[in-house]
Symmetry: C4
Subunit: 253 residues, 4 copies
């Protein structure tokens, strides 16, 4: 394995599949969303991607078994729509590795007839959103216009999109593959099922498909509780700090 390589477990014949990518990143939003999809769509794994640009360690699974770090490709069919889902343990360690992985997956996508890519992720705000997390959409302008025209709540985004979520779209473009990246608003320090749910709902509306969200909704509630708890603690600390400062200023002043 001198470079990023795909190992096929089966070769499904798919009809213009849509590629959905969710690798670990900010708040684990993309990974959580994509892995939820795997479950509800009963997706079947058809390929594994290994790379010398992944970190130099191996994963130990719950049972004590060990395996190399990898990305995985699954496929599913829903309402007559063929879907490929990219998930994985990690992203590459270097810029060069990121480009190699993206090109490797795009080569495979092109051969399988992929015309559209949706990548999922989070964008950090450093704040706890009270209301439903916003979802930002960046990518192909025609695709985005279509999405907004249908009333799907997607905000305009800015700034660089780092890693595979961005490169798959940017380099895909050069191969004539359209794409959009949906990023859910997240604090940045919590694994965020709530943002994952928001991102998935936008994706489902965009693809015009429906699937069970129950599991994710429950976990999203737990995320909300964790965030509330952290927030209360932070506020408490800040109140104490302020009080202490006032007392001190009283003594000194």
């Amino acid at each position: 394995m001198k470079k990023t390589a795909v190992k096929f477990l089966q070769k499904p014949k798919l009809d213009k599949p849509v590629l959905i990518g969710g690798l670990p990143g900010m708040g684990y939003v993309g990974k959580l969303a994509a892995e939820h999809l795997l479950g509800v769509l009963r997706a079947k794994k058809f390929a594994e991607v290994l790379s010398p640009h992944f970190p130099h360690h191996v994963v130990v699974e719950a049972c004590g078994t060990l395996r190399p770090l990898r990305n995985e490709l699954y496929w599913a069919r829903l309402d007559g729509k063929d879907i490929i889902i990219l998930v994985g343990d990690v992203q590459p360690v270097s810029s060069e590795g990121h480009y190699e992985l993206a090109e490797c997956i795009l080569g495979l996508a092109e051969k399988m007839g992929v015309k559209q890519i949706f990548t999922l992720g989070g964008y950090a705000t450093g704040k706890y959103s009270e209301t439903r997390p916003q979802v930002i959409g960046v990518g192909d302008s025609k695709l985005l216009r279509g999405i907004k025209a249908r009333g799907i709540p997607v905000e305009r985004g800015s700034g660089p999109i780092i890693g595979t979520a961005g490169l798959l779209l940017g380099l895909g473009q050069l191969r004539g593959i359209q794409g959009v990246c949906f990023l859910g608003e997240t604090h940045g320090i919590v694994v965020d099922h709530r943002a994952a749910q928001a991102v998935l709902e936008v994706l489902a509306d965009t693809l015009g498909i429906k699937f069970n969200m129950t599991n994710l909704e429950q976990r999203a509630k737990m995320t909300k509780e964790i965030i509330s708890k952290i927030r209360r603690e932070v506020e408490l600390r800040e109140r104490k700090k302020k009080q202490r400062e006032e007392e001190e200023s009283w003594y000194i002043g």
Copy 2:
């Protein structure tokens, strides 16, 4: 894309063109100067350069559209002189990447008949120059002598020239391409249109061409105002600090 690659959009026939390079760097001086040239010369893009040695993110443009990071090559003709202009979002992330990019662009330049290269950039002083920013010229001694003989205000420079601005000239030399790097004096913490203007004026005199500077002059004034404002604030803070120290020394002493 296993390595730095050029994608041609058109193949202009040029007559011994001069290559002018301005990539992001200190004070964004080179990039600002080269991009101003693009506008005033109504230059046409003929090639894009992509590289796995660029950072692993993508650019989101104002409209929400996304694209890979790239360098771009434009061409223009002014007063019978053919000009190629290199601009770009970024420079490579590694030393090896810098050498690869420079060699890639030099290969293209050689094929297109380039005999002279001028690269533009800034050099940081950490100070706010009251007067017109100095421009340093380093590179081919014969070229430099000619420039100075014509009374163009270019100072002698020293120190290493980091990145593509230097490598294009250093490695170009080995291919028999002469070149000079013009570096404008800049503070280092401000995007500096003023230094860009100074560098462009020297370049225009060197090439014996004239073009509209109005837009840049206006932005240069804004830079000057920003710098004055920062300076006043820094001075104010320092005065306060000094005053506080004097008061304290009065109490203690």
Copy 3:
């Protein structure tokens, strides 16, 4: 030497040898254990591995002689069992280098008929274990079940296994080579013969072989004494610190 390369000193004919790997890592546990094996099994060196991914320095030996950094492969036969032992000065400096080294050694192992790999190492706890250091086993589930069924004291492990100890097993799996990694509990700041002894005992039981441990036992006792001394000092310092804090609180309070 553009990439990791094996230099053979002899080509022993071995019968389904077991590969045992112990490179420098946490507490030097793996290296100590593997080097002890070399001695007691009177193993013969048959190959050296050099790599441009090793650090860019050379080793100076006690006599003032100098040599490149390397990994080494030895072989031995015990109770009719053929054994290959991997030891070395260092591990590669980059992720890419780790993958290359592991693949290089696995290529050689496959050709020599290796069907099982055991890698040895330490896992840091930041604590001084009073009792015999635990040994964790991760890897092939069938192999692990067999080991536990025979009453060998191996605990279930978790977390990533970093470096060659993990990659040899993870990437070996893809070539149909089973393997287990034994990690001895260690503090993390001491070269730990005690953990090495614990790991070797588990390995010996697993392979059903017996060999002299005397030397290692003596050094293990020294490790224990070093650890006890460090512990007493740490406790002393903490007692003093606590005392000082109490005194200060008395004055202030």
Copy 4:
């Protein structure tokens, strides 16, 4: 230039030349010594080495001319002895680059009939040696024994030898080229002509050649004066600091 490459300016026919290497490193000892040799032996440059593993900047020379970073190979003949001297601006930026450079130079050395290599450098002590700086010799045991037998003052060394000085010898060994690295004792924060002189004297004795040291001796005296001045200042500061501490303890105590 995808990898380290040699550009020949002439192809001298040499008779079993000795290769002497001095690249920038600790105290610039090796570089100073090798460059002094160039002058006194009136050595002629016959090759330049360029590498994408060198830092990504270019050198600006006193006259304002610019050139790529490089290593250079010179040759000279003294008392019937052929000598190749390696000097340069820099060493590579990565481990992989160091290995590539060393292999590149060794390939050339082998073709030119080199059987012995001497590399020069410094080892930092963090102290100012009152007496003549010691010189450590590490490398081929037979060569070292011969050197010591002749009463040349070379001490036994230990520790890793970092960079090209070490790799040329370590990897040269594998090609059957003997070698020794001479390291002069140096403080580590001063460009040290004194250590360079000490190293060169040992080298001259080893090779049985004589050459003018006047220039280096004068600079060595200057180094000594600089070191004395720094030492006096450091001592002064420490005295002041101690005094201040005593005064404070008097007030507080």
